[in-house]
């Protein structure tokens, strides 16, 4: 018994100490990490340099977003981006960036990776900051003179920040089984 554990322990030690078995691949290049792994964390990890204003965002939105999301983000081909606060607990909830999204960093991450829908990857970081600032301002979450950058964006408190709970399933009480 002791012998087996000792062998297992020895195996574990050699496994972790040794270089991996198959030695496939090579270290990623900085370009690969930039192009393939651009995800932004809720604490702001990964946000690039630069900043954007609400005013710049208004112009950008009119040029790049309004044709699908409507001039004021009211929604069209693209999702509605404004309003709905206070509706989540009603029979007709309206889930938008303003009413539902828990983190402002998600907005940066998503616009950067996926928008404009038909030309994702088009926007420069400064433009993404501006678009984020404008959409947050449309929802009354930041003031018109607030500037979004890597420091200020993670600090934005979204209205529904505390609106998410862990998965409690299985959650449906079992019914009496008629036989």
């Amino acid at each position: 018994m002791w012998k087996v554990s000792a062998i297992l322990l020895l195996m574990a030690v050699t496994l972790s100490a040794q270089p991996p078995g198959y030695q496939v691949g090579r270290p990623p290049t900085p370009e690969e990490v930039r192009d393939l792994g651009s995800a932004i964390a809720p604490d702001g990890t990964g946000l690039p340099e630069g900043s954007g204003t609400v005013a710049a965002g208004r112009e950008l939105f009119a040029a790049q977003c309004a044709r699908c999301h409507g001039p004021n983000g009211e929604g069209d081909v693209g999702a509605r981006l404004i309003g709905g606060q206070g509706t989540l607990a009603t029979p007709r909830p309206i889930k938008t960036v303003g009413s539902f999204w828990p983190y402002a960093t998600t907005l940066w991450d998503y616009i950067n990776r996926a928008m404009p829908f038909d030309r994702p990857g088009l926007l420069q970081p400064l433009e993404v900051y501006a678009a984020v600032a404008y959409v947050l301002n449309l929802n009354g979450i930041i003031e018109a003179d607030q500037v979004m950058d890597a420091t200020s964006l993670p600090k934005v408190k979204m209205p529904n920040r505390d609106g998410f709970v862990a998965d409690p399933r299985p959650d449906v009480p079992r019914e009496r089984r008629p036989r």
Partner: protein, 402 residues
């Protein structure tokens, strides 16, 4: 059809085509010509018979690159879904990827960040599993009981054999650091689909698949590389996988906050609701079909659970007053489509039929009413209520608004 007995479906088709004339005799056989013609020559890649018409149904979408297409479950036999009929759900179209240029990077909290080619990945020891894959939003219409047929209301589920590499093996190569607790997976589609996956589960059961049903997976399923998280909602199975980043926190992606979270009546939303719970549905007879005559039929359907094996399936033909155990097709694999069957006599009486699945954890598929009592009707995802079909005296089968 010349050899062996015709299947039930063939009989139904013939029944529909020639009605009662089948019994009138088969004097001139349209099936035979003399002398007989030679068949088609051998070919490199097979197409199905031109007489087979089963296709996916696609829901209207303002942007054709987003949306879903549904597996024709009513036409399915057995438990495997042909790759060409596997359900699809895309958020920015299907990319065309040259596998010779595709790379997967593994970075973040690892000792040895890696960039791997498909050749590297295929060199590693492989694993193969038969698994069910279901969209988190499958049956979302059932919260409003709107599904007219089994394809539209349950068709975002399919079964495939997946082959690839255990994620644990690759993470051992990269050397996951002790602080790492999440994996951020990103795909190479236009919108760079991204999801956060708990590292513990990923190490236990996730795989990186390149094969589906014995060949390279289809572009629409993630060619050349897809993350497979057995039993979890389809969206976490990131297609066209090109990045795995190990972190100490979930990244709160748009597709785990704005979407794929489940809003409850109190206004709170459940997040990271990954598992697909046990579910079943009768595929024959089901909405839109017609029983051509009175008599004995094989009632059949599919059951599955994201939490393991199907233990048993019970069927009612009297609106839930009594339930009888259906026969299950072996082998019953964990987290895989399982076919159930029950001989049933249709004698022209109206019948309300339904199935309920019980998985190996003891979980019983709930009624729609129980599900709604617990979650309201606005949570969109993870609907797994018992589905009733109404068989009318004339043999027509319709959805039940119960």
């Amino acid at each position: 059809m010349k050899h062996g007995r015709p299947s039930r479906r063939q009989l139904l088709q013939i029944g529909a085509a020639v009605g009662g004339s089948l019994l009138a005799g088969r004097k001139t056989s349209a099936l035979e010509t003399n002398p007989r013609k030679l068949g088609e020559p051998l070919g490199p890649y097979s197409e199905r018979s031109p007489f087979e018409k089963a296709v996916r149904w696609r829901r209207e979408s303002k942007t054709p690159e987003t949306g879903s297409s549904f597996t024709p479950l009513h036409d399915s036999v057995g438990t495997a879904t042909p790759s060409a009929l596997h359900y699809e759900r895309h958020h920015s179209g299907i990319p065309t990827i040259d596998p010779a240029r595709h790379r997967l990077i593994i970075h973040g909290m690892v000792d040895r960040p890696l960039s791997l080619s498909m050749t590297d990945i295929r060199r590693l020891p492989s694993v193969t599993r038969l698994l069910v894959l279901e969209c988190g939003g499958n049956s979302a219409g059932e919260w409003a009981a709107s599904g007219a047929d089994v394809q539209r209301s349950y068709g975002l589920v399919s079964g495939s054999e997946w082959t690839g590499v255990a994620l644990s093996l690759l993470l051992a190569e990269a050397g996951a650091q002790p602080r790492a607790s999440w994996v951020i997976a990103e795909g190479a589609d236009a919108c760079r689909m991204m999801r956060s996956i708990p590292l513990a589960t990923a190490l236990e059961s996730s795989m990186l698949a390149y094969g589906q049903n014995g060949e390279a997976m289809r572009p629409s399923q993630g060619y050349p590389l897809r993350l497979i998280n057995p039993g979890w909602e389809g969206n976490t199975n990131v297609k066209w996988l090109h990045s795995l980043k190990l972190t100490d926190q979930p990244y709160m992606a748009r597709d785990e906050t704005s979407k794929y979270s489940d809003l409850m009546p109190d206004g709170k939303a459940r997040i990271f609701t990954y598992a697909m719970e046990a579910k079943s549905v009768i595929t024959f007879p089901s909405g839109g079909q017609t029983l051509p005559a009175h008599g004995l039929y094989e009632l059949t359907g599919l059951a599955w659970s994201g939490r393991g094996r199907i233990d048993r399936v019970e069927v009612t033909t009297n609106g839930g007053r009594t339930w009888v155990q259906a026969a299950l097709q072996e082998p019953r694999l964990p987290i895989a489509l399982t076919r159930f069957r029950l001989a049933w006599r249709f004698d022209g009486q109206d019948a309300l039929i339904a199935s309920r699945a019980i998985d190996e954890t003891g979980y019983v598929q709930p009624t729609r009413a129980a599900l709604i009592a617990a979650r309201g009707t606005n949570s969109i995802y993870h609907y797994n209520g018992i589905k009733f079909w109404s068989v009318r005296s004339d043999g027509t089968v319709t959805n039940v608004e119960s």
